[in-house]
């Protein structure tokens, strides 16, 4: 069904049904009369979702999505590529579905925001004008936060925290490593993209080593003393890969302070390691594009009105996803997808001269410890009395500990189902 047929059908039905409706629902609210231009920067979970939902809600709006590459490689499920149980192609998505939904997709890089003139400059020379700008630009690495870790070092010691060529590099290094080798992973302090990500990755690297290079070892050097779903990960590691993974927290000397890529050396405060493969996941910040309008005001992350995702610094610019602090929400693909829908509703409401609806958010982060062993953390959020996104007391939480194999297997299946669904939700 095309977009126009869908809305046509809906409008006719609603006319027939007399349209009794709750404010903010899809069924009653088609912003057919809304006019204007929305530019969305960033072709990932936040940007793809936001542009698609704006078109769905307000077919009269011009929506342009600026995506750097012709294909988007998702960070979610890229750990399965590193663990050798999925191909990179299976986590790579194109933008044809968004084009079919009426989104104008431009493959270029946004280089400067000209907020005073409601414009954005692209590296190819074009300039786009907007009534509302949405930025979902993701993260940039804080180069040199770990001494010696720069873009060149990342070619020897991949971060693989922005999926694509880095993912392939880390996978290939693991593939080339001899049995009996040492893999070191450096995990950053909070906040960072995908809090359970390093530990899912450690699990799936262990899965690969356990199967193909069983005399090898994986050492996680952590810049914090605890991590997401820690109990469940450690339970799984003992059960699936006894003795293979060692985790060293911050107080035990896990903080990586320097690397020397030429000699494959990793320094903590107290120790020196010479791994065969080093996966350095460094500290991160919002993508540097936000600095061109000073949206982070010198901080690492942007601050937004959590009802509309409009910047607290510059009007008519909305920021979402990993680049912001979003109350209690973690930086995850699901969070960005959730925020993008709220932002889409807010923007079409504002452009139609209406009040934005009351937000609601969900995040479920699945992690795989093995192809058929999954765990999750879930939360439902709404705004608290201070306008901050807060988890609803008594809800959410992690999977049960000591669950049956069947339960872990079901969660692994649902993780794959989630991936299929959310990428379809984003890309069509």
């Amino acid at each position: 069904m095309t977009t126009s047929e869908y809305f046509g059908t809906r409008r006719d039905l609603l006319k027939l049904a007399g349209a009794t409706a709750v404010a903010g629902t899809l069924a009653d609210h088609v912003f057919a009369e809304a006019r204007g231009s929305v530019v969305v920067v960033g072709g990932g979970f936040g940007g793809a979702t936001c542009s698609r939902y704006i078109r769905r809600l307000a077919p009269g709006l011009d929506v342009t999505l600026v995506a750097r590459s012709k294909n988007f490689v998702t960070c979610p499920f890229s750990n399965m590529v590193i663990g050798g149980i999925r191909e990179l192609a299976s986590v790579t998505h194109g933008y044809d579905g968004l084009r079919r939904a009426g989104v104008t997709v431009v493959h270029d890089e946004a280089v400067a925001i000209d907020a005073g003139n409601n414009g954005i400059q692209l590296s190819g020379g074009d300039r786009l004008s907007y009534d509302r700008l949405v930025l979902s630009p993701g993260i940039d690495i804080k180069w040199a936060a770990i001494d010696g870790y720069d873009e060149e070092a990342a070619q020897r010691m991949p971060h693989a925290w922005i999926a694509g060529s880095q993912t392939r590099l880390l996978r290939d290094q693991l593939g080339a490593m001899e049995d009996g080798g040492l893999v070191v992973m450096a995990a950053p302090a909070n906040p960072f993209r995908c809090p359970p990500g390093p530990y899912e990755r450690a699990s799936l690297i262990a899965s690969y080593l356990h199967q193909h290079k069983p005399r090898s070892k994986l050492l996680i050097l952590d810049s914090k003393d605890g991590f997401s779903k820690q109990g469940l990960f450690r339970e799984g590691w003992e059960r699936l890969y006894p003795g293979l993974i060692e985790w060293v927290g911050f107080s035990e000397g896990g903080n990586v302070v320097a690397v020397e890529p030429d000699t494959m050396t990793v320094h903590t405060d107290f120790d020196t390691f010479r791994p065969d493969v080093a996966n350095i996941i460094p500290p991160q910040r919002s993508a540097r594009l936000v600095d061109t309008a000073d949206l982070a005001e010198g901080d690492d992350w942007c601050s937004v009105d959590q009802r509309t995702f409009e910047s607290r610094v510059v009007p008519n610019i909305h920021v979402l996803g990993d680049a912001i602090i979003a109350g209690a929400m973690p930086k995850s693909g699901f969070s960005a997808n959730s925020q993008a829908k709220v932002c889409a509703h807010a923007i079409v409401s504002l452009l139609a001269g209406e009040d934005p609806p009351e937000p609601a958010f969900i995040n479920t982060c699945y992690s795989l410890l093995k192809g058929d062993y999954g765990i999750s953390v879930a939360a439902v959020y709404r705004l608290d009395e201070n306008g901050e996104i807060a988890s609803i007391p008594g809800s959410g939480g992690v999977s049960p500990s000591n669950a049956t194999d069947e339960f872990r297997q079901a969660e692994a299946e649902f993780a794959k189902g989630w991936y299929a669904s959310i990428t379809a939700d984003m890309f069509g």
């Binding site: 059908t9 903010g24 899809l26 009351e358 959410g396 939700d425």
Partner: protein, 133 residues
């Protein structure tokens, strides 16, 4: 009242431990819900956007392209019975129990109505008999 059958072909086989039990619980729940399903509650205003969040796992029409249970054929009463059952621990789940604990009775009622109305429109096959709450 419509008899409800779990509609997902993927759910039946793969998630054998978790999902078949739902069938056992559903019949009595449906009866009790049908008895109490008088006028639609006002619901909380946040449920309009909450309904949008379900698509990330269940698909925009309630039908996931993957292994997440297909809920596209549920009517509002069945949806309400599931959510209430998940929340109260009467129906086993892997994650929906944790999510449903965020919902009040009126949230569940509003959410069930909104989702099924949206999906009927998206499917283009509205069941007018069930559209009279």
């Amino acid at each position: 009242m419509k008899t409800y059958r779990w509609p997902s072909k993927t759910a039946a086989g793969r998630n054998s431990v978790i999902l078949p039990r739902i069938g056992n619980w559903l019949a009595p729940l449906l009866v009790s819900v049908a008895m109490s399903a008088g006028g639609a509650g006002a619901g909380e205003s946040w449920t309009g956007l909450l309904a949008e969040m379900c698509a990330a796992c269940h698909g925009q029409t309630g039908k996931s392209p993957g292994s997440v249970p297909d809920i596209s054929e549920l009517d509002a009463q069945a949806m309400q019975a599931f959510l209430t059952g998940f929340r109260d621990g009467d129906i086993e789940a892997t994650v929906m129990d944790r999510i449903a604990k965020a919902l009040s009775d009126s949230d569940i009622k509003a959410l069930s109505r909104i989702l099924t109305e949206n999906w009927q429109l998206l499917h283009g096959t509205p069941d007018e008999e069930n559209d009279n709450q």
